[in-house]
């Protein structure tokens, strides 16, 4: 496995195809939890953590269980793929639970740092989105390592986006925003300018 390809995957998903600014995944927490930098950073780390684990686990379930079982019992490797979505969402929900219990027991400082964000992540569409994108793409379907790097890079890209946004919003509090645009309106317009900036990354990591 050459290292360059992995760096390409990472940069591609973290910057060029940033989950928030190019693929519109995880917009709800992006609008909701981006008021303060430390909260945004906590959310970003929690998402990266769960996204990497869920990406790997769903890959293992699809290729380690669904495909061989479907091939052996039903004669068609894709026969059980109808169960994919139900399984993905259950894996993510239970992963969040497991990660929460594990952190609480063994890494208590990290657990208190993540705080309320862990349970919120179950309905974060960026996590399910990462699992689905891995499953839809030939390159990631063929390699577990690339899938793991993709999921990790996606999480880092999300963390980057939400932290930048929170930094800007902390300053926006002191500016004179028209009444109708306060809240979601001005955040979306700021996101528009940030998305324009992220368009500038197109071309690297290819």
């Amino acid at each position: 496995m050459d290292f360059g390809a992995l760096v390409g995957v990472f940069l591609g998903v973290a910057l060029v195809n940033n989950f928030v600014f190019a693929q519109f995944l995880g917009i709800c927490p992006f609008l909701g939890v981006s008021r303060k930098v430390d909260m945004a950073f906590g959310m970003g780390c929690a998402v990266t953590f769960v996204m990497t684990i869920s990406g790997v686990v769903t890959w293992l379930i699809v290729h380690g269980i669904l495909t061989p079982v479907g091939a052996r019992l039903l004669g068609n490797p894709e026969a059980l793929y109808v169960l994919k979505y139900v399984i993905f969402i259950m894996v993510i929900a239970s992963m969040v639970q497991l990660v929460e219990m594990y952190l609480k027991k063994f890494f208590h400082t990290l657990y208190t740092a993540f705080g309320v964000f862990l349970p919120l992540i179950t309905t974060n569409c960026a996590i399910l989105g990462a699992c689905l994108l891995i499953d839809m793409n030939e390159i990631y379907r063929a390699s577990l390592l690339k899938s793991a790097v993709f999921a990790f890079g996606g999480g880092i890209g999300f963390a980057l986006a939400i932290t930048i946004m929170a930094g800007i919003r902390e300053h926006l509090r002191h500016s004179n925003v028209p009444k109708a645009l306060q809240g979601a309106g001005i955040t979306l317009l700021t996101a528009c300018i940030l998305a324009l900036a992220f368009q500038g990354f197109a071309g690297i990591g290819k």
């Binding site: 519109f24 309905t123 994108l133 528009c192 324009l196």
Partner: protein, 214 residues
């Protein structure tokens, strides 16, 4: 706004006063992602209509049997089942559009609009009330998506094309404008810009309406 008392009011609340996208700001991800063309918006709206109707129907029928502590799990599994059906149907009949929608059809599973309707209405109301609510919200969602998609496709592509792959195109295009189309409007920044401006306008109109009405 007074709480809706009849089924018709419940329907209207989801459609306008309590529009899930423009007023409640739910389901932002699909709104931004699939509003780049009217065709995508309509197909996505149809998928959400189907899933929301079935999930509200099932939840409402089971409302006396679901134990409170497992309700979210039941909602999610019901929704995931119907999303799988919708996804397979779309792939069978409108493959091109379903490919363009990418992960956003399966992502209906975690769409907050659908869980919110199950939790707020279907779990404690009768079947007809839940269906009226589902239809109001689903049509309200489609309406919001279509408004955004119309703006973005007109400015970004110079005209609106529906059903190009099926062979009969419907192209409304101000010819003078087409060569000067702003491609940025159908790209990601255009999505944020359009939604931000439309939400601003809606807020302004609501504030004025509240002042005028009182």
């Amino acid at each position: 706004m007074a709480a809706p008392t009849t089924n018709l009011q419940q329907f209207k609340a989801g459609l306008l006063d309590n529009n899930p996208v423009l007023v409640q700001l739910l389901g932002m991800c699909p709104t931004l992602a699939v509003s780049n063309s009217v065709e995508n918006a309509l197909v996505m709206g149809a998928a959400v209509f189907f899933v929301l109707t079935m999930s509200n129907l099932i939840t409402s029928l089971l409302r006396n049997r679901i134990k409170p502590h497992v309700r979210i799990l039941i909602f999610t599994l019901t929704i995931a089942t119907f999303v799988t059906i919708a996804d397979l149907t779309l792939r069978a009949y409108v493959f091109e559009v379903s490919k363009k929608l990418g992960p956003f059809v399966p992502l209906i599973i975690v769409n907050c609009i659908i869980i919110a309707r199950a939790e707020m209405v279907a779990i404690k109301s009768g079947v007809w009330r839940s269906l009226a609510d589902a239809w109001g919200c689903a049509i309200g969602f489609t309406l919001a998506l279509c408004i955004l998609a119309t703006i973005r496709e007109l400015l970004g592509a110079g005209g609106i094309t529906i059903l190009r792959d099926a062979g009969w195109a419907w192209h409304v295009s101000p010819k003078a404008f087409e060569p000067h189309a702003w491609v940025i409007m159908i790209m990601p920044p255009g999505a944020f810009l359009t939604l931000g401006v439309v939400i601003g306008i809606v807020n302004h109109l609501r504030a004025r309406g509240a002042r005028g009405g009182a």
